[in-house]
Symmetry: C2
Subunit: 210 residues, 2 copies
């Protein structure tokens, strides 16, 4: 049966001033591959994406955003219509507390910037948005990958979490390949290293089986 997927992708940009911003490493390739694969399988797809340079997959409803706050608002607006939500975006956890209208001039030898927490989009799905569908998170970790991912699964109410070790240089981020493990509440399913499109097909299959 055809489903409606909501997929987030890419980084977010958190402006410090009109020219500088904080962001996360993310090419958007994993989220775009998921969106393309789901659409190709005949599902309806809403893709909410931070800034990235990729072509929007054919047949996808595309919602471009810049900041985590904008992504939060877009997810809040669209998630209720979806059956399966996959949060593949690398959302910036923090944003600068104060954003001046003009470029900060480099007067001092040091610069201290206070950051405040961004809204937790994945964590809001169940508790704030009241989402009842299948919920899949991503965990990019550099240590204790499986343990951190399972904590995320439980805290956020996910059906499973796609975990990857971003300390490895051969996979992830800008690569077109990735090696991930699917973290369920009671077990872990490692997937073989594969290109992101093949991984997308596997993830979509597991999501549809829930």
């Amino acid at each position: 049966m055809k489903k409606h997927f909501l997929i987030t992708a890419g980084p977010t940009h958190e402006p410090l001033d009109p020219v500088r911003y904080l962001t996360n490493r993310s090419s958007g390739k994993m989220g775009y591959a998921l969106a393309g694969a789901a659409a190709h399988e005949g599902h309806r797809v809403t893709l909410i994406s931070g800034p990235c340079e990729l072509d929007v997959p054919t047949g996808v409803d595309f919602i471009p955003v810049e900041t985590a706050a904008e992504m939060y608002e877009a997810v809040k607006r669209y998630i209720g219509k979806s059956d399966i939500a996959i949060f593949a975006a690398a959302v910036a956890d923090y944003r600068p507390a104060h954003v001046p209208d003009q470029k900060i001039k480099k007067t001092g030898d040091t610069l201290t910037i206070e950051f405040i927490k961004n809204p937790d989009i994945l964590g809001s799905a169940r508790e704030v948005f009241g989402y009842q569908g299948t919920l899949i998170g991503f965990a990019a970790e550099t240590e204790n990958v499986e343990k951190n991912a399972r904590v995320k699964l439980q805290k956020k109410g996910c059906d499973f979490v796609v975990a990857n070790d971003v300390s490895r240089k051969d996979i992830g981020f800008d690569s077109s390949e990735n090696e991930v493990a699917l973290i369920f509440a009671e077990h872990t399913e490692p997937l073989p290293k594969a290109d992101k499109y093949q991984l997308s097909l596997d993830i979509i299959e597991r999501a549809l089986a829930i």
Copy 2:
């Protein structure tokens, strides 16, 4: 006569940890257009570029870098061989003072990060690298554009500075068009709004005339 151009382009990425980084808005289009135009005119070109998604122009020696510190080292190494140096990169002025090996976990509601000044690449050309060739800087400003650009020209020992007002939404950054003014010590030459390749030809012509 054919010359050797050194051109910097793109943003730099300043890591906060293995997944987060601070950067500047820059598509790299202006620097790549300059490099492509100079090479097309038959000049030798060394292009030192921060991370961007553009195709490297044909016939250009390409030196990819990530951080401002890496760009500084690359410019230091190659500038002595060039006749004309054009610094179009949007170099991050500051980098985090401490960069942990592992991803920062989002424990607190706020996060305070201390930044330290990056080396001033343009400002080092004359004073540190002893560069005697033609030196051209870029100034991206949001206010007092001409005044700030002329201060930069004088402090850094440039022959001219290409100034643009990045508060305007219709030009600059991701746009393929730009409207700039060339700031010389004694006068200002506004160039008409044009695509970045045409502007590149104008800038190269002025540089060759010095």
